[in-house]
Amino acid sequence: MEIFKGLLAERPVMAATAYELLAFGLFAAVTLGSSLGVVLVREVWHAVLLLGVALLSVAVHFVMLQAEFLAAMQVLVYVGGVLILISFAVMLVSRGGAPAEALASPSLKLGSHLVRGLGAVALFGVLALAVLRSAFAAPAGFPADASITASIGYALFNLAGGGVPSEGFLAAFEIIDVVLVAALVAAVMLARREVGGSVRGGLRPDGGSATSGPDPSADLDGRDDQ
Protein backbone atom coordinates (compact mmCIF):
# COMPACT_ATOMS: atom_id res chain seq x y z
CA MET A 1 0.00 0.00 0.00
CA GLU A 2 2.83 2.36 0.89
CA ILE A 3 4.40 1.72 -2.49
CA PHE A 4 1.22 2.66 -4.35
CA LYS A 5 0.83 5.85 -2.35
CA GLY A 6 4.35 6.80 -3.23
CA LEU A 7 3.73 6.09 -6.90
CA LEU A 8 0.59 8.20 -6.99
CA ALA A 9 2.20 11.11 -5.21
CA GLU A 10 5.19 11.13 -7.49
CA ARG A 11 3.22 10.78 -10.68
CA PRO A 12 3.46 14.33 -12.07
CA VAL A 13 7.25 14.42 -11.95
CA MET A 14 7.89 10.75 -12.60
CA ALA A 15 9.51 9.54 -15.77
CA ALA A 16 7.32 7.82 -18.34
CA THR A 17 5.81 4.59 -17.12
CA ALA A 18 5.82 1.51 -19.28
CA TYR A 19 2.08 1.89 -19.90
CA GLU A 20 2.49 5.47 -21.07
CA LEU A 21 5.25 4.43 -23.43
CA LEU A 22 3.14 1.52 -24.69
CA ALA A 23 0.16 3.79 -25.36
CA PHE A 24 2.37 6.35 -27.03
CA GLY A 25 4.01 3.71 -29.21
CA LEU A 26 0.70 2.20 -30.29
CA PHE A 27 -0.88 5.52 -31.21
CA ALA A 28 2.30 6.80 -32.82
CA ALA A 29 2.21 3.68 -35.00
CA VAL A 30 -1.43 4.41 -35.88
CA THR A 31 -0.61 8.04 -36.70
CA LEU A 32 2.41 7.22 -38.83
CA GLY A 33 0.77 4.27 -40.58
CA SER A 34 -2.39 6.15 -41.51
CA SER A 35 -0.39 9.23 -42.55
CA LEU A 36 1.75 7.09 -44.85
CA GLY A 37 -1.44 5.53 -46.17
CA VAL A 38 -2.82 9.00 -46.93
CA VAL A 39 0.02 9.84 -49.28
CA LEU A 40 0.48 6.37 -50.77
CA VAL A 41 -3.07 5.11 -51.35
CA ARG A 42 -4.27 5.29 -54.93
CA GLU A 43 -7.88 6.32 -54.41
CA VAL A 44 -8.45 9.88 -53.12
CA TRP A 45 -11.54 8.90 -51.15
CA HIS A 46 -9.58 6.25 -49.24
CA ALA A 47 -6.87 8.82 -48.58
CA VAL A 48 -9.45 11.14 -47.05
CA LEU A 49 -10.77 8.36 -44.79
CA LEU A 50 -7.22 7.53 -43.70
CA LEU A 51 -6.71 11.22 -42.97
CA GLY A 52 -9.63 10.91 -40.57
CA VAL A 53 -7.84 8.09 -38.75
CA ALA A 54 -4.67 10.16 -38.57
CA LEU A 55 -6.51 13.20 -37.20
CA LEU A 56 -8.28 11.12 -34.53
CA SER A 57 -5.00 9.57 -33.42
CA VAL A 58 -3.46 13.04 -33.18
CA ALA A 59 -6.37 13.91 -30.87
CA VAL A 60 -5.31 10.96 -28.70
CA HIS A 61 -1.78 12.39 -28.56
CA PHE A 62 -3.27 15.70 -27.45
CA VAL A 63 -5.04 13.98 -24.56
CA MET A 64 -1.78 12.35 -23.53
CA LEU A 65 -0.16 15.80 -23.61
CA GLN A 66 -2.78 17.19 -21.16
CA ALA A 67 -4.51 19.18 -23.94
CA GLU A 68 -8.03 17.86 -23.51
CA PHE A 69 -9.76 20.96 -24.88
CA LEU A 70 -7.57 20.96 -27.97
CA ALA A 71 -8.32 17.26 -28.46
CA ALA A 72 -12.05 17.96 -28.37
CA MET A 73 -11.58 20.82 -30.83
CA GLN A 74 -9.48 18.56 -33.05
CA VAL A 75 -12.34 16.08 -33.25
CA LEU A 76 -14.99 18.77 -33.73
CA VAL A 77 -13.20 21.04 -36.19
CA TYR A 78 -11.02 18.62 -38.10
CA VAL A 79 -12.97 15.38 -38.17
CA GLY A 80 -16.37 17.05 -38.04
CA GLY A 81 -15.68 20.02 -40.29
CA VAL A 82 -12.57 19.85 -42.43
CA LEU A 83 -12.91 16.17 -43.25
CA ILE A 84 -16.58 16.57 -44.22
CA LEU A 85 -15.66 19.52 -46.46
CA ILE A 86 -12.95 17.50 -48.18
CA SER A 87 -15.35 14.56 -48.63
CA PHE A 88 -17.84 16.93 -50.28
CA ALA A 89 -15.13 18.11 -52.62
CA VAL A 90 -14.10 14.55 -53.49
CA MET A 91 -17.68 13.67 -54.34
CA LEU A 92 -18.31 16.88 -56.31
CA VAL A 93 -15.09 16.65 -58.29
CA SER A 94 -15.22 12.94 -59.13
CA ARG A 95 -18.71 12.91 -60.64
CA GLY A 96 -17.70 10.77 -63.58
CA GLY A 97 -17.63 7.61 -61.52
CA ALA A 98 -14.33 6.12 -60.51
CA PRO A 99 -13.12 2.91 -62.07
CA ALA A 100 -14.54 -0.01 -60.16
CA GLU A 101 -11.23 -1.71 -59.54
CA ALA A 102 -9.79 1.44 -57.98
CA LEU A 103 -12.60 1.46 -55.42
CA ALA A 104 -12.27 -2.21 -54.62
CA SER A 105 -9.40 -1.92 -52.19
CA PRO A 106 -7.04 0.83 -51.07
CA SER A 107 -4.09 -0.32 -53.12
CA LEU A 108 -0.77 1.39 -52.59
CA LYS A 109 0.63 3.29 -55.50
CA LEU A 110 4.32 2.52 -55.56
CA GLY A 111 6.40 3.46 -58.53
CA SER A 112 8.93 5.77 -60.03
CA HIS A 113 6.97 8.90 -59.15
CA LEU A 114 7.99 8.32 -55.53
CA VAL A 115 11.55 9.36 -56.41
CA ARG A 116 10.54 12.99 -55.99
CA GLY A 117 9.65 12.17 -52.40
CA LEU A 118 13.31 11.53 -51.60
CA GLY A 119 13.55 15.22 -50.75
CA ALA A 120 11.02 14.71 -47.97
CA VAL A 121 12.89 11.64 -46.70
CA ALA A 122 16.14 13.63 -46.65
CA LEU A 123 14.37 16.45 -44.80
CA PHE A 124 13.17 13.95 -42.21
CA GLY A 125 16.71 12.59 -41.85
CA VAL A 126 18.17 16.03 -41.17
CA LEU A 127 15.39 17.06 -38.76
CA ALA A 128 15.47 13.73 -36.91
CA LEU A 129 19.23 14.03 -36.50
CA ALA A 130 18.80 17.54 -35.11
CA VAL A 131 16.10 16.37 -32.67
CA LEU A 132 18.08 13.34 -31.50
CA ARG A 133 21.25 15.38 -30.92
CA SER A 134 19.49 18.03 -28.83
CA ALA A 135 18.75 17.55 -25.16
CA PHE A 136 15.28 18.37 -23.87
CA ALA A 137 14.56 18.86 -20.20
CA ALA A 138 11.99 16.64 -18.54
CA PRO A 139 8.49 17.94 -19.32
CA ALA A 140 7.30 20.34 -16.65
CA GLY A 141 3.63 19.54 -17.18
CA PHE A 142 0.72 21.41 -15.69
CA PRO A 143 -0.32 21.40 -12.03
CA ALA A 144 -2.85 18.68 -11.30
CA ASP A 145 -5.40 21.07 -9.77
CA ALA A 146 -5.29 23.69 -12.54
CA SER A 147 -8.15 23.86 -15.02
CA ILE A 148 -6.45 23.95 -18.39
CA THR A 149 -9.59 24.72 -20.38
CA ALA A 150 -10.46 27.67 -18.16
CA SER A 151 -6.90 28.97 -18.41
CA ILE A 152 -7.08 28.81 -22.23
CA GLY A 153 -10.29 30.81 -22.08
CA TYR A 154 -8.64 33.47 -19.90
CA ALA A 155 -5.60 33.57 -22.18
CA LEU A 156 -7.77 34.12 -25.27
CA PHE A 157 -9.14 37.35 -23.77
CA ASN A 158 -5.98 38.65 -22.03
CA LEU A 159 -7.63 38.14 -18.64
CA ALA A 160 -5.78 37.36 -15.47
CA GLY A 161 -6.95 34.10 -14.01
CA GLY A 162 -6.65 30.41 -14.49
CA GLY A 163 -3.78 28.67 -12.77
CA VAL A 164 -1.43 28.22 -15.69
CA PRO A 165 0.77 30.97 -17.18
CA SER A 166 0.23 31.97 -20.78
CA GLU A 167 0.52 34.93 -23.07
CA GLY A 168 -2.53 36.96 -24.00
CA PHE A 169 -4.11 36.31 -27.36
CA LEU A 170 -6.82 38.96 -27.63
CA ALA A 171 -5.37 40.60 -30.76
CA ALA A 172 -4.89 37.25 -32.51
CA PHE A 173 -8.41 36.25 -31.49
CA GLU A 174 -9.89 39.37 -33.08
CA ILE A 175 -7.77 39.07 -36.21
CA ILE A 176 -8.63 35.42 -36.79
CA ASP A 177 -12.35 36.05 -36.87
CA VAL A 178 -11.79 38.58 -39.67
CA VAL A 179 -9.66 35.94 -41.41
CA LEU A 180 -12.39 33.33 -41.04
CA VAL A 181 -15.08 35.63 -42.44
CA ALA A 182 -12.84 36.63 -45.34
CA ALA A 183 -11.99 32.99 -46.09
CA LEU A 184 -15.60 31.84 -46.04
CA VAL A 185 -16.79 34.74 -48.20
CA ALA A 186 -13.95 34.03 -50.63
CA ALA A 187 -14.84 30.35 -50.74
CA VAL A 188 -18.49 31.15 -51.50
CA MET A 189 -17.42 33.63 -54.18
CA LEU A 190 -15.12 31.09 -55.80
CA ALA A 191 -17.54 28.19 -55.79
CA ARG A 192 -20.63 30.21 -56.76
CA ARG A 193 -22.22 29.75 -60.15
CA GLU A 194 -22.91 32.95 -62.09
CA VAL A 195 -26.51 34.02 -62.53
CA GLY A 196 -26.79 32.90 -66.12
CA GLY A 197 -25.65 29.40 -65.25
CA SER A 198 -22.17 30.09 -66.52
CA VAL A 199 -19.08 29.43 -64.45
CA ARG A 200 -15.93 31.44 -64.05
CA GLY A 201 -13.81 30.55 -67.02
CA GLY A 202 -11.05 33.13 -67.11
CA LEU A 203 -8.35 30.52 -66.73
CA ARG A 204 -9.43 28.36 -69.63
CA PRO A 205 -7.09 27.97 -72.57
CA ASP A 206 -9.80 29.36 -74.87
CA GLY A 207 -10.21 32.49 -72.76
CA GLY A 208 -13.46 31.36 -71.20
CA SER A 209 -15.59 31.73 -74.31
CA ALA A 210 -17.30 28.40 -73.84
CA THR A 211 -18.42 28.67 -70.24
CA SER A 212 -21.87 27.19 -70.39
CA GLY A 213 -21.35 25.16 -67.28
CA PRO A 214 -19.53 21.91 -66.85
CA ASP A 215 -20.33 19.23 -69.33
CA PRO A 216 -22.09 16.48 -67.38
CA SER A 217 -20.48 13.89 -69.59
CA ALA A 218 -17.01 15.25 -68.87
CA ASP A 219 -14.95 12.37 -67.65
CA LEU A 220 -13.39 13.95 -64.59
CA ASP A 221 -12.11 10.69 -63.35
CA GLY A 222 -10.94 9.18 -66.55
CA ARG A 223 -7.41 10.10 -65.76
CA ASP A 224 -5.76 8.62 -62.75
CA ASP A 225 -4.62 11.09 -60.19
CA GLN A 226 -1.03 10.24 -60.78
Binding site: S35, L70, G141, A155
Partner: protein
Protein backbone atom coordinates in the same frame (compact mmCIF):
# COMPACT_ATOMS: atom_id res chain seq x y z
CA UNK B 1 5.39 11.69 -18.84
CA UNK B 2 6.60 10.86 -22.30
CA UNK B 3 9.87 12.65 -23.17
CA UNK B 4 9.28 15.63 -25.41
CA UNK B 5 11.79 14.43 -27.98
CA UNK B 6 9.50 11.48 -28.84
CA UNK B 7 6.67 13.84 -29.68
CA UNK B 8 8.99 16.12 -31.66
CA UNK B 9 10.16 13.10 -33.66
CA UNK B 10 6.56 12.04 -34.28
CA UNK B 11 5.64 15.57 -35.40
CA UNK B 12 8.68 15.67 -37.68
CA UNK B 13 7.63 12.38 -39.26
CA UNK B 14 4.03 13.53 -39.81
CA UNK B 15 5.24 16.82 -41.30
CA UNK B 16 7.67 15.08 -43.65
CA UNK B 17 4.95 12.64 -44.76
CA UNK B 18 2.91 15.70 -45.69
CA UNK B 19 5.85 17.13 -47.66
CA UNK B 20 6.21 13.74 -49.33
CA UNK B 21 2.57 13.83 -50.39
CA UNK B 22 2.91 17.33 -51.86
CA UNK B 23 6.02 16.29 -53.78
CA UNK B 24 4.72 13.01 -55.18
CA UNK B 25 1.00 13.49 -55.87
CA UNK B 26 -0.59 15.46 -58.71
CA UNK B 27 -4.20 15.59 -57.54
CA UNK B 28 -5.08 18.99 -56.07
CA UNK B 29 -7.22 17.31 -53.39
CA UNK B 30 -4.19 15.31 -52.27
CA UNK B 31 -2.30 18.58 -51.91
CA UNK B 32 -4.97 19.83 -49.55
CA UNK B 33 -4.91 16.60 -47.53
CA UNK B 34 -1.10 16.66 -47.32
CA UNK B 35 -1.15 20.25 -46.08
CA UNK B 36 -3.55 19.13 -43.35
CA UNK B 37 -0.99 16.51 -42.30
CA UNK B 38 1.74 19.17 -42.13
CA UNK B 39 -0.46 21.45 -40.01
CA UNK B 40 -1.12 18.56 -37.65
CA UNK B 41 2.60 17.90 -37.30
CA UNK B 42 3.12 21.54 -36.35
CA UNK B 43 0.25 21.33 -33.88
CA UNK B 44 1.72 18.28 -32.14
CA UNK B 45 4.94 20.28 -31.70
CA UNK B 46 3.09 23.26 -30.24
CA UNK B 47 1.24 21.12 -27.71
CA UNK B 48 4.34 19.08 -26.81
CA UNK B 49 6.39 22.20 -26.09
CA UNK B 50 3.46 23.65 -24.20
CA UNK B 51 3.69 20.67 -21.86
CA UNK B 52 7.48 20.85 -21.75
CA UNK B 53 7.42 24.41 -20.42
CA UNK B 54 4.22 24.12 -18.36
CA UNK B 55 2.90 27.17 -20.25
CA UNK B 56 -0.38 27.34 -22.13
CA UNK B 57 0.81 29.60 -24.96
CA UNK B 58 1.45 26.63 -27.22
CA UNK B 59 -1.97 25.08 -26.65
CA UNK B 60 -3.76 28.37 -27.26
CA UNK B 61 -1.78 28.90 -30.42
CA UNK B 62 -2.73 25.38 -31.48
CA UNK B 63 -6.36 26.50 -31.39
CA UNK B 64 -5.52 29.27 -33.85
CA UNK B 65 -3.82 26.72 -36.07
CA UNK B 66 -7.07 24.71 -36.07
CA UNK B 67 -9.09 27.76 -37.10
CA UNK B 68 -6.62 28.68 -39.84
CA UNK B 69 -6.71 25.11 -41.14
CA UNK B 70 -10.48 25.33 -41.44
CA UNK B 71 -10.22 28.63 -43.34
CA UNK B 72 -7.49 27.22 -45.57
CA UNK B 73 -9.60 24.20 -46.45
CA UNK B 74 -12.60 26.38 -47.32
CA UNK B 75 -10.57 28.54 -49.71
CA UNK B 76 -8.67 25.54 -51.09
CA UNK B 77 -11.90 23.75 -51.89
CA UNK B 78 -13.25 26.81 -53.68
CA UNK B 79 -10.10 26.91 -55.79
CA UNK B 80 -10.35 23.20 -56.53
CA UNK B 81 -13.98 23.58 -57.63
CA UNK B 82 -12.94 26.35 -60.04
CA UNK B 83 -10.04 24.19 -61.24
CA UNK B 84 -12.36 21.25 -61.88
CA UNK B 85 -14.84 23.43 -63.79
CA UNK B 86 -12.24 25.16 -65.93
CA UNK B 87 -10.02 22.21 -66.79
CA UNK B 88 -12.38 19.26 -66.24
CA UNK B 89 -9.67 17.81 -64.04
CA UNK B 90 -8.00 18.39 -60.69
CA UNK B 91 -4.51 17.50 -61.91
CA UNK B 92 -2.28 20.41 -60.90
CA UNK B 93 0.06 19.82 -63.86
CA UNK B 94 -2.83 20.55 -66.27
CA UNK B 95 -3.43 24.10 -65.06
CA UNK B 96 -0.61 25.82 -66.97
CA UNK B 97 -2.45 28.62 -68.80
CA UNK B 98 -0.94 31.28 -66.51
CA UNK B 99 2.61 30.09 -67.18
CA UNK B 100 4.62 32.40 -69.42
Amino acid sequence: MIPTSYYVLLATAVFCIGVFGVLTRRNALMFLVSVELMLNGANINLVAFSQLHGNLTGQTFGLFTLALAAAEVAVGLGIIMVLARNFEDVDVTEAVTMRW
